[in-house]
């Protein structure tokens, strides 16, 4: 996707160090994301290895979606520190994208997950200075103004200032590394 002006929808809240094995367990990596029908499957198994007590904070034990659904009712993931740590599997941002997630907000991201989210154009990864995973509750209704990086919580009335996207904004705007590289003259096909 390219950068939209606004994103709104429900939040699903997770904690610190949500690693790629929790986001998409290794046994499902046999699906090939280059095949559309198999890409869809990743949505079904997204977040299926998150320990139940950590799933859908602050209460926990809130499933991301029911077992036979491919898409979750949530649009935002709110995480803590080091979101997406672990393996380089691009299947992780793909799984969240396939499940209908548009934006992940975290205190900071693991490098490869961040890069894959941006370069593949799957998700908008926003960092936040405050610990939003302890302010936002799973199910809260959120609205994001992308350009100003202001996240409004319609459920609580609070507004949070996220960190600007910075140097990855042009890549997200272009829709990923291929259109971006073309734009800056690094790709001649």
């Amino acid at each position: 996707m390219t950068l939209p002006a606004n994103v709104s929808g429900k939040a699903y809240v997770l904690g610190d160090n949500v690693d790629t094995d929790q986001i998409i367990p290794a046994q499902y990596l046999t699906f090939n994301p280059a095949i559309p029908e198999e890409y869809r499957q990743f949505g079904k198994y997204a977040l299926s290895s998150v320990p139940p007590a950590q799933a859908g904070l602050p209460k926990g034990h809130i499933p991301f979606h029911t077992e036979d659904e491919f898409v979750s009712p949530y649009t935002f993931i709110i995480g803590g520190k080091n979101f997406g740590c672990g393996s380089s599997r691009e299947h992780a941002p793909i799984a969240l994208d396939a499940a209908g997630i548009k934006v992940v907000v975290a205190e900071f991201f693991a490098r490869i997950f961040y890069r894959n989210s941006v370069n593949g154009g799957y998700l908008i990864p926003f960092e936040c200075a405050q610990r939003l995973c302890e302010r936002v509750c799973t199910g809260d209704d959120l609205e994001l103004d992308v350009a100003s990086a202001q996240l409004h919580n319609r459920t609580t009335g609070e507004t949070y200032a996220l960190k600007p996207l910075g140097e990855v904004a042009p890549i997200l705007e272009a829709g990923g590394i291929f259109p971006y590289a073309e734009k800056v003259g690094m790709l001649n096909r």
Partner: protein, 435 residues
């Protein structure tokens, strides 16, 4: 000119610049691109989508494809993925495809790469696997990327990177016989946390590092990703050059690179390795450090010796040293990383017995070379934790569900500690067996 670290210097040379600084976004030329059966099909899909069905890779000599993850399984999708690689390698006429079921089959990519002469000092290696950082042991810039980036490299031979600041870890002294590189890196990760090196390079230095053989250096660099590191690196010495030159059959020229004196490190820490103790990472994170001595006696159900970080000859020599003339008390799985190492188990001897004989006599099971249960995989994977059991393992990750069941408890430790624990059935200090 501003002094640069080894990592900065490699990146500068590959971007055609005199110098770079941490934080710079640059486009660099790639020397080797590696992919495997889990991420290869997706990478090939991206490559064809963007460059066309009939596109050719940018340089056949620089693309290496090593199926290693889900090999010895009846899973149809996993086998289909290997078929995708095989078909692509044939269509592109790739000289460095190591096919399953052939004489050329290797096993775990991070060990196969150096064995087959694809790692050289001063180069840039990208791989679709987070443990690609292992190759930093050869004095090169090596890091993991996703399918999209790999598809881009496949077509262009280039990628944008952000220059990381470098952290330096200095190991003083020579390792005592009961410690291994795994203890050092688990100690470091315990200190800085599993996000302590996020977006940074980790350079290892000091006599404690240069006294390690090349396989142990690979173990150090392998786990920098467990601290969030972008790459790990060790400047080349004669040990590195001897290994690389023995394997570089094609005589590909390379230029070793070293950190400048006065190079800026964002963090420095020294360790006296003689004062360290055997370490484990407890469930469910590689930074959940404990000294073996403090949790000895913890009951276990299984032991696992294998993977890119714990399935090399040095790892099996260490394990065999403890397992000879003993019997394991819990299910113990031995998985050589590559076919070359599997042959080594049959030829290398300890007190007249091959390592294979030692393991079998102790009651361990030996699997085929591959990633096997390190990352769980299909349900029929050798050694996979299909129940909520406790396992001590020489692998590199223990997040929930990593080795299979999401309630399984995985303890990461050195091959010496794992072997000692296999003998007793509970977490055991290798100093009980080694002076």
């Amino acid at each position: 000119m501003t002094p640069m670290t080894l990592t900065e210097k490699i990146l500068a040379r590959h971007s055609g610049r005199e110098s770079v600084q941490p934080g710079d976004n640059i486009w660099i030329d790639v020397d080797v691109l590696m992919t495997h059966d889990v991420c290869g099909p997706g990478t090939i899909g991206i490559f064809k989508q963007h460059f066309g069905q009939n596109a050719q890779v940018w340089d056949k000599q620089k693309v290496v494809i090593i199926p290693d993850h889900y090999i010895f399984t009846n899973d149809k999708m996993a086998n289909r993925n290997v078929d995708v690689l095989r078909h692509f390698a044939a269509e592109q006429d790739l000289p460095y495809y190591y096919d399953v079921g052939s004489e050329r089959y290797k096993g775990v990519c991070h060990i196969a790469l150096p064995e087959e002469g694809h790692t050289r000092p001063g180069e840039v290696l990208f791989g679709t696997d987070s443990h690609t950082c292992t190759a930093g042991a050869f004095g090169e810039f090596a890091t993991g990327i996703g399918n999209t980036d790999a598809g881009f490299v496949m077509g262009t031979g280039k990628l944008w990177v952000k220059v990381p600041p470098t952290m330096r870890f200095i190991f003083e002294g020579e390792l005592p016989p009961y410690l291994m590189a795994k203890d050092l890196i688990l100690a470091v990760i315990g200190d800085i946390g599993c996000d302590g090196a996020t977006y940074r390079a980790m350079e290892f230095d000091g006599p404690g590092v240069y006294s390690l053989n090349i396989e142990e250096r690979m173990t150090l660099c392998n786990m920098v990703i467990e601290a969030g590191g972008k790459n790990g690196v060790i400047a080349p010495d004669q040990v590195t050059l001897d290994y690389v030159n023995a394997r570089n059959a094609r005589r590909v020229p390379y230029t070793p690179v070293f950190s400048d004196s006065g190079a800026r490190f964002v963090f420095e820490k020294s360790y006296d390795v003689r004062k360290l103790q055997p370490v484990v990472a407890q469930p469910h994170s590689p930074d959940n450090r404990a000294y073996v001595n403090d949790i000895k006696g913890t009951k276990l159900d299984r032991a696992y010796i294998g993977s890119c970080t714990g399935g090399k000859m040095t790892d099996f020599r260490a394990a065999a040293q403890i397992l000879q003339d003993k019997t394991v008390r819990i299910d113990t799985f031995v998985v050589p990383a590559t076919s070359e190492i599997a042959r080594g188990l049959k030829t290398e001897r300890i007190n007249g017995h091959t390592l294979e004989e030692v393991f079998l006599a102790a009651g361990a099971k030996i699997g085929e070379p591959s990633c096997a249960a390190c990352l769980g995989g299909p349900a029929d994977t050798f050694g996979r934790l299909n129940a909520p059991m406790s396992c001590i393992s020489t692998t590199n990750r223990n997040f929930p569900g990593r080795m299979g069941h999401k309630e399984a408890r995985v303890y990461l430790a050195s091959p010496l500690t794992v072997a000692a624990s296999a003998v007793t059935g509970c977490i055991t200090d290798p100093r009980e067996y080694i002076a």
